[in-house]
Amino acid sequence: MSVDIEEIIREAPSGLAIRKERDDGTVHMTVDTEGFADLVAYLHARGGRLVSLHAADRRAADGAFTMHALIDLGVIVEVECAVRPDRASFHSLAPRVNAANWYEREVQDMFGLVPDGHPDPRPLVLYDDWPEGIYPLRKDFDPSVPVPRVPREYRFRRVEGEGVHEIPVGPVHAGVIEPGHFRFSAAGEPIIALEVRLGYVHRGVEKLSESIPYRKGVFLAERISGDASAAHSTAYCQAVERLCGAEVPERAEYIRTVVLEMERLYNHIGDIAGIALDTAFAVPAADGLALKERVLELNERLTGSRLLRSVNDIGGVTMDVSREEAMKVISRLVGLRQQFEKLAATMFSSTSMLDRVEGTGRLDREKARPLGCVGPVARASGIDMDARRDHPYAAYRNLSFRVPVRDGGDVDARTRVRVDEVRESFAIIEQALDGMPGGPLAAEVKEVPAGRTAFSLVEAPRGEVMHWIISGDGTPFRHKIRDPSFCNWLGMEFAVRGNIVPDFPLINKSFGLSYAGNDL
């Protein structure tokens, strides 16, 4: 991306913004509450992507809440403003920056700060029977005291007209997947609108993290979204490493990379098999799942855990990959690759499968971009982004790989992007195992000083994961986690419109979203 960040900032509307360079290469700007929305909207209009929008309760130290917006302009710009507790509101960005929609509703639920002028200020993440006026992420909320429940009803969006009917699906689903409610408004088979209602697996991860020492936080991060344990724990470790200035040894960076790509492999292969399954194409579905199982078995040999847990540590990794292990994995990958190519060939030569996936669940670029979609979903809608290349971490800057982009925006494109990414992952793992430098596995880690802020981005199988931490006394003071699913659910609401109800499971599968990661 060749944007001139200097020029953009010079032309910014808020002359009052105080600007600071951070040593991690990001730009930090502070504005007043009034100017916040204008500045963020301006940076967005200049091509910036909203990475996250969240709040922190700093009333004890500074007498105010703070709002933070992270915008990706090639360089990450963080805009911050204070919100006075007696006002407890801010100008809503959502009318101008659609991607801010859910973030602002989340801030309202968790902090009780009202987004003034938000087009849809209903609750988002809290349970339906959560009492009004109790805000879990405020510092005066004590998580050990049970909260009384008040029966309340969530008001779904209504589509009215002759022949329009509603179909409620979930939160418990036939396949015993994660819980989420889908409310369809349909006229006959075609879907007019879908509203996704989540929050059923909201566990208060961000609040919990505020009481967990950094080292133990790694295990919490591994459990934010079970099949993205490597991505979340890497993002968490990297953020903490930035807070305390730890230099991760190169060997650890390579091991992290291998593990992150193994995670992508089993997730993508499982998702591809899922597409075969949902199009009733049983043979490749079974083959794909057997192949996924082979990757999980390889994970277990390599790390002792099928889901790649306990590898990450603050400052590095906990376990080594020996030369023999590396050679064994490389030779295994040869066979897995062949099997995978066969699988892909079987799937994409079947006209009956192609008939189901082509043109189904289309999300075009013009929708995906303002919604802030990320990951394979964004890349299948023509958005060329990948944190591994755009904001390199671990060993990615030393490895060569392609970022596949397609512009179909349909189930077909999303599946093919994953197929291409699997191919790249095979190559990345080989390169990383082959070129793994010697040296220690972890750096000496100093105590994390309080009052600092750091964030980190990691490209998980589903897309960009962000962890953002203000350090406190031995634990995070505030820990914002943003899973890629949070950015992509709204994309799906748009993608299903005009499709028939029976295609919904297939479209949902092609988005491959996490409920737990979204709910936190």
């Binding site: 967990i212 080292r215 133990k216 295990f219 919490l220 043979v283 079974a286 083959d287 057997a290 192949l291 199982e293 082979r294 078995e297 277990e300 040999r301 390599l302 790390t303 002792g304 855990s305 847990r309 306990s310 906990t318 376990m319 099997q339």
Partner: protein, 106 residues
């Protein structure tokens, strides 16, 4: 017909006839934490590092709550002389109480 049959037979399969055919965990597998022999100095270090709060010092030894343990291996990393991650994975119980086991150091 025969060709179809062959193709089906040639398909990959990852199904094991467990429990008839035993599952042999790989070397790095982390099953139930086990006590190594040799007196433990009861310093409580393992309980402090345990992220799940699964360990507690009790008069009989070290109590491990398998309903909490996440098999992360932190205890064995903190105290390799006295704790090792074993290979036992058949840990189901009929009663919650049975999940509390005592690791006795010889």
């Amino acid at each position: 017909m025969l060709r179809l049959f062959r193709r089906v037979l040639g398909k990959d399969s990852r199904t094991r006839h467990y429990p008839k055919e035993a599952f042999v965990p790989p070397a790095k597998f982390r099953g139930r934490p086990e006590a190594l022999t040799g007196g433990c100095d009861r310093c409580g270090g393992c309980a402090t590092v345990c992220p799940a709060g699964a360990l507690a010092l009790i008069p009989e030894g070290l109590q491990l709550d398998l309903s909490r343990c996440v098999f992360c291996g932190e205890c064995a990393r903190a105290c390799p002389e006295h704790i090792v991650m074993g290979k036992e994975f058949e840990l189901a119980a009929r009663d919650r109480g049975e999940l509390k086991v005592v690791l006795v150091h010889g």
